[in-house]
């Protein structure tokens, strides 16, 4: 796609328009309205700046949906001949811009006088040729093409779409999101409270205003198990990377079981489209985690790989099996493998420090205790979530002797600690560990006291993003949770009234790889910097 430039402008738009023709929910007027708005946006961009705008609008169209091109490639067998070349002509007459100077194709279409008819045929031919090539390569099987594709895609600059949830300060992005949600009939969640200026690019929601209050009952678009799941996410009932992913997969199983293919539709295409509004809804309730993102990618791939000759029942059973296999392999068996490796690292007489509540680390400690290792545990906890209490309960129930402190007492307990075990939310491609806020602090102080830090993480949480600080991409929790009532007095009660006061409740932070000594994964024990190697190995396997 590196060579796509100006010539592909109107083609892209044609494809998008055709893709939109598929969606039965849109009415013709809505479509035309959308097209008009899109063109007006482009017009404004052009007027600002010549070259920059062409690149930008070209990129916008490639971004706007990668999904559009996906839909396109699955539709290639049933190609519709664009009868009247639906180049959008706005009904309100031609906004004939005085854009004589910029001769880019991005504005080329609406001024039909300029574009001669022969180029339309040329472009159509080009497009058809490309689609043939796509179809051919797809049917040739993945092995040969992927081998040639993999190195090629590594070297070509990949235009990545910046996720919406880190662009809240850009009004155009917010508007686009609002339109998308309106189309999918999902309510938009509004931000709450004064946002600290450093984090104005992130959402900040209030727990007291869950998204489900804005839904009409019964909701026709969203499956009830998804609604329940969204509510559990936003209220913090289901927390933790593994728990959220597994709950998501179970909810999707429910959706698949209740799904019935509408007539004239193929299951592989329609089901993916059905899942999109659910994912937007869950994203609105609480931003998706890296593990959930990977799980969703897997499901979408499985669904779109269902051969068309399968009957509906067969297809559904196959999908349910796939999901079960995924959960089993990536979560349950991975936990077993990780505990096997980790138990080698626990010796008798150890004092182990853990932070917060990581299901994996708790599992490891329980297994080690079952294998009669003698150790004791120090659980470190932090406000406002106080998740360590849950870990404390689980460990005490099994019979492990525990100590409990808050994170500010870390320097007091560390001199007697022999190892630190931490869980992770995601491992980024540059070796940074993204985890609950406070983890980087623990790693920092442990390094200062020369205590080894071991991070335990399954491979399905590995993520291709890179990040160097905790600001660019994070999650802001409800700021009211920082308030505390002591001796009958709540100091920060009226923080809304003070315009200069802000409360910041971060959820995640990133730990640099030099603080981490070892990462224990189901593939073995690796250093932090080997994450991109694992990602590459995984991609080649699949």
């Amino acid at each position: 796609m590196a060579d796509c430039g100006e010539a592909n402008g109107p083609e892209r738009k044609n494809e998008i328009v055709r893709a939109k023709n598929e969606e039965k929910e849109l009415t013709k007027e809505e479509k035309q309205r959308l097209r008009k708005e899109k063109k007006q946006q482009k017009k404004q961009k052009e007027k600002k700046d010549d070259k920059g705008s062409s690149e930008k609008s070209g990129r916008e169209k490639t971004l706007d949906p990668l999904s559009a091109s996906q839909v396109l490639s699955t539709q290639s067998p049933t190609q519709k001949v664009p009868a009247s070349a639906p180049i959008p002509v706005p009904p309100s007459g031609a906004p004939s811009h005085s854009s004589g100077a910029p001769s880019h194709s991005s504005s080329g279409a609406p001024s039909p006088a300029d574009k001669p008819a022969k180029s339309k045929a040329e472009l159509k031919a080009e497009r058809r040729a490309r689609q043939e090539a796509d179809r051919a390569s797809k049917q040739q099987g993945s092995s040969s093409s992927s081998k040639t594709k993999a190195p090629a895609s590594d070297l070509n600059p990949v235009v990545k779409r910046l996720p919406e949830h880190v662009q809240v300060d850009d009004p155009a992005v917010v508007k686009r999101l609002a339109k998308k949600l309106e189309r999918q009939q999902i309510p938009l969640r509004s931000d709450y409270g004064y946002k600290v200026s450093l984090f104005s690019h992130l959402h900040q929601y209030s727990r007291k205003a869950p998204l489900t209050q804005l839904l009409s009952i019964p909701s026709s678009v969203i499956h009830p198990s998804i609604v329940r799941l969204g509510l559990q996410y936003s209220q913090g009932i289901v927390t933790g990377s593994n728990a959220r992913s597994v709950a998501l997969l179970h909810a999707f199983k429910q959706v698949i079981m209740d799904y019935s293919t509408p007539p004239n539709e193929e299951l592989s295409r329609d089901l993916v489209n059905k899942l999109k509004p659910y994912i937007s809804f869950l994203n609105q309730c609480r931003p998706l985690s890296a593990s959930m993102g990977n799980a969703i990618k897997y499901i979408k791939k499985e669904i779109s790989n269902i051969p068309s000759q399968y009957k509906e029942e067969e297809a559904k059973t196959k999908l349910l099996e796939c999901i079960d296999k995924y959960i089993d392999e990536k979560v349950v068996l991975a936990a077993k493998a990780i505990s096997k490796y980790a138990i080698e690292k626990i010796s008798d007489g150890d004092v182990i420090l853990v932070y917060g509540c990581s299901s994996l680390v708790n599992h490891i400690l329980c297994e080690a205790f079952d294998k009669n290792r003698k150790f004791r545990v120090i659980v470190v906890d932090s406000r406002p979530r106080l998740e360590g209490r849950e870990a404390l309960r689980r460990l005490v129930q099994i019979g492990i002797s525990c100590t409990y402190v808050l994170i500010s007492a870390l320097s007091y307990v560390l001199p007697e600690v022999s190892k630190v075990f931490l869980g992770a939310h995601a491992l980024l491609a540059n070796g940074y560990v993204m985890s609950r806020v406070g983890t980087s602090q623990i790693a920092l102080v442990a390094r200062a006291f020369n205590v080894p830090v071991l991070v335990c993480c399954e491979t399905y949480k590995f993520c291709e993003r890179v990040q160097t600080d905790s600001f660019v991409s994070n999650e802001l929790d409800d700021p009211d949770e920082l308030m505390v009532t002591r001796k009958g007095k709540t100091q920060l009660e009226d923080w809304h009234d003070l315009s200069t006061l802000g409360l910041l409740n971060l959820v995640y932070d990133v730990t640099p790889p030099d603080f981490v000594d070892l990462v224990i994964t189901d593939l073995g024990m690796i250093p932090c910097t080997s994450v991109p190697v694992v990602l590459r190995v995984k991609n080649v396997d699949q």
Binding site: V196, L198, S382, R383, P384, R389, L392, R393, V396, S401, C402, T403, Y404, V405, L406, I407, S408, A409, L410, S411, Y412, V413, R436, V437, G438, S440, Q441, L444, V445, A448, D469, S470, F471, L482, M483, V484, R486, Q491, L492, W495, L498, T500, L501, G502, L503, L504, N505, L506, D509, V510
Partner: protein, 375 residues
């Protein structure tokens, strides 16, 4: 409570009779005041009594010592020093973590030594120099000194103590006056917990400069909340963060300014818990760490004395009784203080100006006499 009331009553009664019968009653009045002070110290430390700042504590101690000097019976400097040392030992035993009390006692002892030396006519410098010759030859002499009686000694000592009191009253303002030298506009400053000195420092700078303050709340007492509301009411842009987010936001911070409970003899700090983490994070990002501490917090203690360094309060603050079943099976700690080694500190700002941590030992020798380090 009843106990307290009866003390009050007897104190009132003794005050009314004071005019009638001076002498013996003055002594009982004095001892009552001392007992009341000790009781306050004991209660204040557990967090249940009224919380007092160190400045207040220092002023009250000095006032009490002045009263002792004025009202107790003594004939020579040595007697007075014995009395004050005894009272000082009782006061520090009542609340070992409140080091300002001990510091003030040592200051007053040094004042007495100086006034005595001045009355005797020998200059101060010769006394200060601890040359090897002096150590070997005059080792026995110092025992006898302080027995001579000087009539004007009492008045001199009381005057010197008054000077000390004025110095104590002006410390916060002195420190706050230096604020503009250290804070420029558009800075992001981080602090932890609540320190009245730092509050005054930042408010003074805010009169002329615009900057942003991030306050770490410092669980479990969450005194950072009070600090944040007070600063934002003064018009400073403030943000409250949880302790766990200290490292996460440190990359955007330009300076860290903290207060402390005590400055130790090696230049380290004994500060509220969480400060060590803050100092390490600042060191990692090469952010300067500035400590605003008045001179009366400087104490001749070293951090190796484990038994008296740490102070703990009720673990109920950390794991409340509502947690029920697991309480009996778990050890819970709630330490109040942290040790910060001097390598992590960039600058001390005190009422006498700015100093590096390596200079603290000199300041200590100016304030306290080496024989008073152990009360």
């Amino acid at each position: 409570e009843n106990y307290h009331i009866s003390w009050q009553d007897s104190r009132n009664r003794s005050e009314t009779t004071l005019n009638n019968m001076p002498g013996a009653d003055k002594e009982t009045d004095l001892s009552e005041r001392i007992e009341a002070f000790l009781a306050d110290l004991k209660r204040g430390g557990s967090g249940t009594g009224p919380l007092r700042g160190s400045g207040e504590m220092a002023r009250e101690t000095t006032a009490l010592l002045r009263r002792i000097t004025a009202q107790a019976r003594w004939s020579s400097a040595g007697d007075l020093m014995e009395i004050i040392r005894n009272e000082g030992r009782r006061m520090t035993a009542a609340q070992p973590s409140e080091t300002t009390v001990g510091n003030m006692v040592r200051r007053v002892l040094k004042i007495i030594r100086e006034e005595y030396a001045r009355s005797r006519g020998s200059s101060e410098e010769t006394d200060q120099q601890e040359s090897l010759h002096k150590l070997l030859t005059s080792g026995g002499l110092s025992e006898e000194n302080f027995r001579q009686h000087f009539a004007s000694l009492k008045a001199n000592v009381i005057e010197a103590i008054n000077e000390l009191l004025t110095e104590l009253e002006g410390t916060t303002d002195n420190i706050a006056m230096q604020a503009l030298e250290h804070i420029h506009s558009n800075e992001v400053i981080m602090t932890i917990g609540r320190s009245r000195t730092v509050e005054a420092f930042l408010k003074d700078a805010a009169r002329k400069r615009k900057f942003h303050v991030i306050v770490a709340e410092c669980a479990p007492f969450c005194q950072g909340h009070e600090m944040a509301t007070s600063l934002s009411k003064a018009g400073i842009e403030t943000t409250v963060i949880a302790d766990a987010a200290i490292f996460a936001v440190m990359s955007r911070v330009n300076k860290v300014i903290i207060g402390t409970q005590t400055v130790l003899a090696n230049g380290g700090l004994r500060a509220v818990n969480g400060t060590h983490t803050l100092a390490l994070a600042a060191k990692h990002h090469s952010t300067p760490l500035i400590v605003c501490a008045p001179m009366f917090k400087l104490s001749p203690q070293f951090p190796n004395e484990e038994e008296i360094f740490h102070k703990f309060v009720s673990p109920h603050e950390v794991l409340p009784f509502t947690e029920g079943e697991i309480l009996s099976k778990v050890n819970v700690h709630c330490p109040v203080f942290d040790y910060v080694p001097p390598e992590l500190i960039t600058l001390f700002i005190s009422n006498i100006g700015g100093n590096a941590p390596s200079y603290i030992y000199r300041l200590m020798s100016e304030l306290y006499h080496p024989e008073d380090h152990e009360l």
